[in-house]
Amino acid sequence: MDGFSIDDVQICRYLRLYGRAPGAALEERINAMRKAADAAFRPARTWRRFDDVAVAGGAGSQSLSKHLAGCHAIYLVCATIGAEFDALQRRTAAKSPSDAFVLQAIGAAAIEALMDETELEIRRELADGETLVSRYSPGYGDYPLSEQQRLMALLDAPRRVGVSLTDALVMAPSKSVSAVIGVRAGEST
């Protein structure tokens, strides 16, 4: 897999700095935590194309139908930065909640970056005249969270990328994302 690069601006967004500069002391912590995180990332992702939009399920979800309107195919995607990051997060939280807060912001930015990178790769698979709509996940709008189970099964996610669901339908490892990406006719961007 190609690397994925995490944007400092995104990290600051997840730190809820609302556009302000982090300042020297915080910046130093961000850099230290980035280094620790880099050693713990074990990114994995899997995706699968279905030429039947109904595969996404939705249990009658209006918002999903609206989102996929005009699409003739979908990709189901699941990605994670891995369980070792969670171990680092727990270790860090035991000694410094502020470092743990910085770290989780880095993890959130990392999984988004990994999904962006994955989407770019999927774009390369598209036929001429196809383009993607933005990704959509269970829990958005009225697309029920319980549909996670369907997505995980279709992707064989526990085996392919080591991502599973808890009883409360939380994804584990914690920095993991699953999504439906619609394919429609149009110029690819």
Binding site: L15, R16, L17, Y18, R20, P22, G23, A24, A25, L26, E28, R29, R42, A44, W47, R48, R49, F50, D51, G82, A83, E84, D86, A87, Q89, R90, R91, A93, A94, K95, S96, P97, S98, A100, F101, V102, Q104, E125, L145, R150, A153, L154, D156, P158, R159, G162, V163, S164, L165, T166, D167, A168, L169, V170, A172, P173, S174
Partner: protein
């Protein structure tokens, strides 16, 4: 025991397994997301045909179509037993004609175990046990545990196989491209764990093709003397036209598998994407006698879920001693109250200071030791990848902790008493592990080295009856105070050397007992530690936060050519100077040398406002040294500085990370000042507040932030961690007489558990308030589930608590 299969695993010929089932069924119409095992009932002919094709291709054994047939995936489906029994029966039917064997195929549960997930070890064990009982009764010849990506789940599966059947066990794991499991374990870790659990063959399946498997097969051959199995994919999966395909053909596959046999594999087959043609191409190999393997040298290796640590014969390591309540008031209190966070900080700080293994002892009179040791070991494992030394004299506590331990533990300890030998050695043999052998028996501790050696010899000999080797023992010749017996140190040093040279065992020693009853103990301890190291001590049980001890350790290694190019010494002491104000070796602790901060004024208040933790501690220290009264420092500088930052946060000028950093800096300064305060004043804290992330929820960052801030605002917090059942919250709040409980939940799916906890607290403890917080909560929502207060952020919680506790 099915000896027939056992013999075949080590018969001198290469043993041929089958290829893929899943991809074969997909070719026959299995849809994505469809459960393959249900075909045992609906499409039995197809399943049988796949088995028959593999036997026809030359396989000696096939895996029944039971990979995912466990209760965790089938969620109480009544069909499950039929599915498993039918799977074994179909394979048996195919085997009958061919004269081959049938494995019960046991794959992962599809659930992530704690601590990264929410699945309990015991629940995983139960799922595997149910599957294995049915499979064994249906007539499987051996159990094939495969595609495991987590050592913890692997251990649950192996224990289930051993305790619920007499069948031989073949266990294989799925490596990632970096040669590690999903949870981070490397090959050495897996080998040590599985050898300890005494499986019959070990190896790899799935993951990637045979070419990439080669280097890891070599690692495995160097780490184990067990038969090695490989079942690689037909190359790496590729996506072509939206389908996952495997592109390595039978001939190429066979060529690469032959190299695996040369590297030591004697059981071979295929995983995803392999076909009967791939197995047929291996037929030639099955005629071969695999090259003889050189058994690896006996090493003493213990592991965690992701790290293997050798207790070396020619070097020395550190066992951190601090998680042991003997003589430690704070730790004793934390264990009694269930304050997990305190224990976890002790674990992480020792790991950061350079410990290689951590001792965990929870022996506090009046506590339920089996329960507390078990939960403490699991909690400590959640924050460190260091292997643990499980330290207890209660065999019940030992067994429960060993069973739930992720990895191969160091057991502390067995001694020469019959009672101890017969209780502890069988546990080490069953769960795997290295064990500390204390040289005492019914008559006490012998005064001479001869006497101690005799006991060590007896323990090692008894171990052999359980299949334990000398390298499974770490002899502790016992450190007695030199103040009570002038010859004590000489006896210890002689016994250490002889345990190493005459018994071939590794050694450990609780070094600091030597100075008991004498002044300036750290100085004596460090001197004696150096002497013990030069007499062959493999593992000192010491305080890694004691600078003198770490200096002795690092100096010994630098001076005896164990620290390559003195690299560790140089890295640790480059900035050392004799004028350093504290005794913490080479650490830079003064404000001046850490002067990279943004502020030009260097006061304690400024260090706190800027979130400079070590500066704040150093300045508090120098203020005290300069004659400032401790309470003046707290009321005049620390509290106002933190208050300034808190108000800044409330008005939107300071953001959460800065607030947290300031709180931590204030906490570091508090810690310095508290040690200078008289006992009764130091103890004047508000609270306690019991905090927990509710049952089912594993996201606890918000709760941790609130805890940190409350603590630094002078509240005592008992942090129960995450995924906490309502009953435990109530029980703790009742015992500690808490007037406030704080709960967090992140997901809409776990707010139900929060509501239940609120209700139970109110019912059982009418005087106790409940405050809640979390991403999906609002003031309205909180009121609806019955909470007394909702805090939108950590400062809000501090203000509420201040109001409540006055």
């Amino acid at each position: 025991m099915n000896t027939r299969t056992k013999n075949i695993f080590s018969s001198g010929h290469v043993f041929l397994l089958d290829g893929a089932m899943g991809t074969q069924l997909q070719d026959r119409g299995l849809k994505p997301g469809e459960t393959p095992e249900l075909w045992n009932l609906s499409r039995a002919d197809d399943v049988r045909a796949v088995h028959e094709a593999y036997f026809a291709a030359g396989a000696n054994a096939v895996y029944a179509n039971t990979f995912g047939a466990n209760p965790a995936k089938y969620h109480g489906d009544a069909l499950l037993e039929d599915v498993i029994a039918a799977g074994v029966r179909i394979a048996r039917e195919a085997a009958k004609g061919a004269g081959g064997l049938v494995a019960l195929d046991v794959g992962p549960t599809g659930r992530l175990l704690k601590p990264s997930g929410d699945f309990e070890f015991d629940a995983a064990y139960d799922a595997f046990a149910a599957q294995i009982r049915v499979g064994a009764a249906a007539g499987a010849d051996f159990v094939a545990i495969e595609t495991m990506g987590d050592t913890y789940e692997l251990k649950a599966a192996v224990l289930a196989a051993k305790e619920n059947s007499q069948l031989p066990v073949l266990a294989t794991v799925a490596l990632g491209e970096d040669g590690k499991l999903l949870t981070g374990a490397n090959v050495e870790c897996v080998a040590a764990l599985l050898e300890g659990l005494r499986v019959d063959a070990i190896g790899f399946n799935c993951g990637f093709g045979p070419d990439m498997t080669l280097q890891y097969a070599r690692h495995l051959a160097a780490a184990t003397s067990l038969p090695i199995a490989v079942k690689p994919n037909a190359g790496l999966p590729k996506v072509v036209d939206g389908r996952t395909v495997f592109t390595v053909g039978p001939e190429e596959f066979a060529k690469d598998v032959a190299a695996l046999v040369d590297a030591g594999a004697s059981i071979v087959g295929g995983c995803c994407g392999t076909t009967p043609d791939h197995i047929a191409a291996l037929k030639g190999l099955a005629m071969r006698t695999p090259p003889a393997r050189t058994p690896p040298a006996d090493r003493t290796v213990v592991t965690s879920g992701s790290r293997a640590v050798e207790i070396p014969a020619d070097d020395t390591i550190i066992i951190g001693e601090r998680i042991n309540p003997t003589g430690k008031k704070k730790l004793r209190a934390a264990l009694s109250e269930g304050d997990v966070a305190y224990v976890l900080r002790e674990a992480v700080s020792q790991a950061d200071a350079g410990a290689h293994i951590l001792d965990v002892n929870t022996g506090v009179p009046g506590l339920d030791e089996p329960a507390v040791l078990d939960s403490t070991v699991q909690a400590v494992q959640s924050v460190t990848d260091l292997p643990l030394q499980i330290d207890t004299s209660d065999p019940k506590a030992l067994e429960r902790a060993l069973r739930h331990y992720n990895g191969k533990a160091l057991v502390n300890s067995v001694n020469g008493k019959e009672e101890s030998l017969s209780a502890v050695l069988p546990l080490v043999a069953k769960y795997g592990g290295a064990v500390v052998a204390l040289t005492l028996d019914e008559s006490g501790i012998p005064p001479t080295a001869d006497g101690r050696l005799a006991i060590a010899r007896k323990i090692v000999a008894r171990g052999a009856e359980y299949g334990l080797k000398p390298s499974d023992f770490v002899v502790d010749v016992l450190c007695l105070a030199v103040s009570a017996d002038a010859g004590s140190a000489n006896t210890i040093l002689e016994a250490l050397w002889r345990a190493r040279t005459e018994l071939g065992c590794r050694t450990c020693l609780g070094v600091s007992n030597i100075s008991f009853g004498l002044p300036a103990r750290p100085l004596l301890n460090a001197a004696f530690y150096t002497m013990a190291l030069s007499r062959g001590l493999s593992a000192g049980i010491v305080n890694p936060l004691a600078a003198d001890m770490m200096t002795a350790y690092k100096a010994f290694r630098a001076l005896t050519a164990r620290d390559s190019a003195c690299g560790e010494w140089i890295a640790s002491y480059t900035d050392w100077s004799p004028a350093a104000p504290s005794a913490t070796g080479g650490q830079r602790t003064t404000a001046a040398s850490a002067g990279t901060n943004a502020s030009s004024e260097s006061t304690l208040a400024s260090a706190i406002r800027h979130g400079l933790k070590s500066d704040a501690a150093a300045m508090a220290k120098s203020s005290l040294a300069g004659g400032k009264a401790p309470l003046d420092l707290i009321d005049g500088e620390i509290v106002p500085a933190l208050e300034t930052v808190g108000r800044g946060f409330e008005s939107g000028r300071v953001f959460l990370p800065q607030l947290l950093m300031a709180a931590e800096a204030a906490g570091a300064a508090f810690e310095v000042v508290r040690t200078a305060l008289p006992q009764q004043e130091a103890g004047s804290v508000k609270g306690p507040v019991v905090m927990a992330t509710v049952k089912g929820d594993i996201h606890d960052i918000g709760k941790n932030i609130c805890r940190a801030l409350l603590e630094n605002y002078g509240f005592k917090v008992i942090d129960l961690g995450r995924d906490v059942p309502p009953e435990k919250v109530v029980e703790t709040a009742r015992r500690e007489n808490a007037r406030l409980v704080g709960l967090s939940a992140l997901m809409t799916t776990t707010v139900g558990a929060m509501e239940e906890t609120v209700r139970l607290v109110h019912k059982e403890l009418p005087c106790c308030k409940v405050t809640v917080g979390g991403a999906v909560l609002t003031e309205d929502y909180a009121a609806r589930i019955g909470a007394d207060n909702y805090s939108k952020d950590a400062m809000g919680l501090v203000r509420y608590a201040e109001g409540l506790f006055g």
